[in-house]
């Protein structure tokens, strides 16, 4: 500890939770919205310092390794940019009276609590603690989804809550089973929950019990990832909540749940007698991809459209990790990062657009590039990126997934490509009507914050054209960890 008194891990956790308390107490939206930005920025800076600071050795609760450091930085970065977007978005919501100042206070406190929950989930080395953290993050988002208190928002929040709780329950049962499987080897007590210790000695665990545990964990955390048969909460929660929350739901919370799954996948891979999680993940991934691609064609609500697109991309990522191997894992990791950045950028644009037009219906939004060039072209760039066109980052990761699959399982690759093309078609179809053509709806000038959106898009473009060598080495190293 050279940087005595400054511990980045503590900072990453302590800043959000203390600012949550502060934001709950302070009145006035101008002040709190700015404080929210400042708190998110300092958390991001603290996360960045994780790169330079000496890493703490894995303790019973906290672990910093190559895998989670990427996600912590990504998480705090998107948390920061979303807070900037949120400030201008919320100002508009106050003007139109959709939110009252009291609710706004609550909103900011919940925002920081959610950031705390997600960061805690990433740094935790204890599978019990990780479960608690994922659950905390979920509950705060449930409250935020329902914040408008309209019929639709309440229904969405209720559905999210019920399905989320079922997922939570199954994941906890899986966690208990992992402990049971480990107990004969690890002995009773604390050690049986510490991930690093579990992985070291996983080879001797009861394989049958571990298999059942993974199935429960997969279904439980998979519900939160939004995999196809368990996805029902996701489109509603995205469509009815405030748009900043849609951005962090898609960009971050899905990643948190997927990260938890990856940890358990590594655990399972360390036990040679257990089943390979691959086929399960490949199947669910493909089902999600194809299902979401078909559903994209029938969307009439713009936020729902992009919610289904998130299901599609989570399907691709789970598929990539299910295929395994250095190349597919590399692609999966890259895709997670690129999808986070792109999808949140899209939601920033969509948030402002739906505020200006006063509707989320696709049919009432036309000719955006004419009336609002910055927003319109921003959306075009975002959709081009998310549809997987070169030269943007998602093209690269999708290309890697497809090519590595073609080399090993050509039949699966055909299904994968079919899904990708389907989704591409749907997105292009919707995009042309929204962005081009005769303008429809309000042409009022936008009071938008463009910086977060264009910053994300620039990063995605940059990654698509040139990935710095140290970053590639880093990703490759992590991909190897994933087995």
């Amino acid at each position: 500890m050279n940087l005595s008194y400054f511990d980045p891990v503590t900072a990453v956790l302590l800043i959000p939770i203390s600012s949550a308390a502060l934001l709950a107490a302070l009145p006035g939206y101008r002040l709190t919205a700015r404080l929210n930005v400042v708190a998110s920025l300092t958390t991001f800076l603290a996360a960045l310092s994780l790169f330079v600071a000496e890493r703490p050795s894995p303790g019973p609760y906290v672990l910093i390794d190559d895998l989670n450091i990427v996600f912590i930085v990504l998480n705090t970065f998107v948390g920061f940019t979303t807070s900037i977007f949120s400030a201008s978005y919320i100002a508009h919501e106050l003007e139109t009276g959709r939110l009252t100042p009291t609710y706004l206070r609550f909103y900011h406190a919940m925002y920081q609590t959610m950031m705390f929950g997600m960061n805690l989930a990433f740094v935790s080395n204890n599978i019990g603690l990780m479960w608690v953290a994922v659950e905390l993050a979920t509950l705060t988002t449930v409250l935020m989804v329902g914040i408008y208190r309209t019929h639709a928002a309440l229904e969405a929040a209720w559905k999210y809550f019920i399905l989320g709780s079922v997922g939570i329950a199954l994941a906890l049962f899986g966690t208990i089973l992992v402990y049971m499987a480990a107990r004969p080897v690890m002995g009773e007590g604390q050690d049986g929950m510490v991930w690093t210790l579990l992985v070291e000695r996983a080879a001797n665990f009861d394989a049958a019990l571990l298999n059942v545990a993974f199935v429960f964990l997969f279904l439980g955390y998979g519900t939160k990832v939004g995999l196809a048969p368990l996805h029902a909460w996701l489109p509603d929660a995205h469509a009815e909540g405030p748009t900043p929350i849609s951005a962090v739901l898609s960009g971050l919370l899905l990643n948190v749940a997927l990260y938890a799954l990856l940890r358990f996948k590594i655990l399972l891979a360390a036990n040679p007698a257990s089943i390979a999680p691959g086929p399960l993940m490949v199947t669910m991934g493909l089902v999600s991809l194809i299902f979401a691609a078909f559903m994209l064609y029938r969307r009439r609500d713009i936020k729902r459209l992009f919610a289904y697109s998130s299901i599609e991309h989570m399907g691709i990522i789970v598929f990539a990790f299910g295929m395994g191997g250095p190349l597919a894992n590399f692609a999966g990791l890259l895709h997670m990062v690129m999808h986070s950045l792109t999808k949140s950028a899209i939601f920033y644009a969509v948030g402002h657009i739906s505020q200006i037009k006063g509707t989320q219906r696709i049919s009432r939004i036309r000719g955006l590039t004419v009336t609002h060039p910055a927003l319109g072209w921003g959306l075009v760039a975002g959709v081009v990126a998310i549809a997987g066109l070169p030269p943007l980052g998602i093209f690269m990761s999708e290309f890697l997934v497809v090519s590595s699959t073609f080399a090993r399982q050509p039949l699966l690759a055909i299904v994968l490509v079919f899904g990708l093309l389907l989704a591409f078609g749907a997105l292009t179809l919707r995009l042309t009507s929204v962005a081009f053509g005769e303008p429809r709806g309000s042409a009022a000038p936008a009071d938008a914050s463009y910086i977060p959106m264009f910053a994300h898009l620039a990063l995605v473009l940059g990654a698509g054209i040139y990935l710095p060598a140290p970053l590639v080495v880093w990703f490759q190293h992590v991909a190897q960890l994933l087995g």
Partner: protein, 222 residues
């Protein structure tokens, strides 16, 4: 050895009792009686946890037992009673599926979890494995209650009985760290706060807490 087998029998009886009470929940067609059965469920759970605390010589589990007793067997049922009364929804439960098929499905789930857990855990010690099998049954039955009921209050009851199954599993896993028990207790607390808020809001906006009434407001149909 003799003492051990009595300990085994008692914990076995209590866990089996929980499964039976879960099955009882399936055919309650009035909200008040459902709440009463749930209170009984929580009571048996707290006895079971206390017994585990005694035989495992793990005093921290008594905390979990007390939480189960005070919160889940007394506070929550009483509070839900009042909510039901205030809302005036103490009529029949509108279950989405009939009682006959529900009971059959319930028995199928119990059989499934027994077959699955007993086969998988053949090496584990008998107490733990049977405890786990019962716990899984309770979890699945809780899910079934949630699926077959339309009413928000009874879905919440289903969810809490599911949590009871998790507590049963967690306490049956010998020496599982306290972290988890606390987390389980907290989660129920949080869940209840959330649910309370939800019920409050739903009541504010609608005249009924029948979740199917919410179905009319699906975003796609606007």
């Amino acid at each position: 050895m003799q003492m051990h087998s009595i300990a085994f029998d008692i914990s076995h009886t209590l866990a089996g009792g929980l499964v039976l009470i879960s099955l009882m929940m399936l055919y309650q067609d009035r909200l008040y009686s459902l709440l009463n059965v749930f209170a009984l469920h929580a009571l048996v759970l707290s006895l079971s946890v206390a017994w585990q605390a005694f035989i495992q010589d793990a005093p921290h589990l008594y905390v979990t037992a007390v939480i189960a007793l005070v919160f889940k067997a007394i506070v929550i049922p009483v509070a839900l009673h009042r909510i039901v009364k205030q809302l005036g929804i103490h009529r029949d439960i509108e279950s989405a599926v009939g009682i006959g098929p529900t009971m059959l499905a319930g028995m199928g789930l119990v059989a499934l979890s027994l077959v699955l857990m007993l086969r998988v855990t053949s090496d584990a010690d008998p107490l733990a494995r049977e405890d786990l099998a019962f716990a899984l049954s309770v979890v699945l039955l809780g899910l079934l209650v949630m699926v077959t009921r339309r009413n928000a209050v009874s879905q919440v009851v289903g969810f809490m009985s599911l949590e009871n199954g998790l507590v049963l599993a967690a306490t049956g896993a010998k020496g599982m760290p306290l972290v988890v028990e606390i987390s389980v207790a907290f989660s129920i607390l949080i869940a209840f706060i959330v649910i309370g808020i939800f019920l409050f809001r739903i009541r504010e906006r609608f005249d009924s807490v029948d979740v199917s009434a919410l179905d009319d407001f699906r975003g796609e149909r606007r």
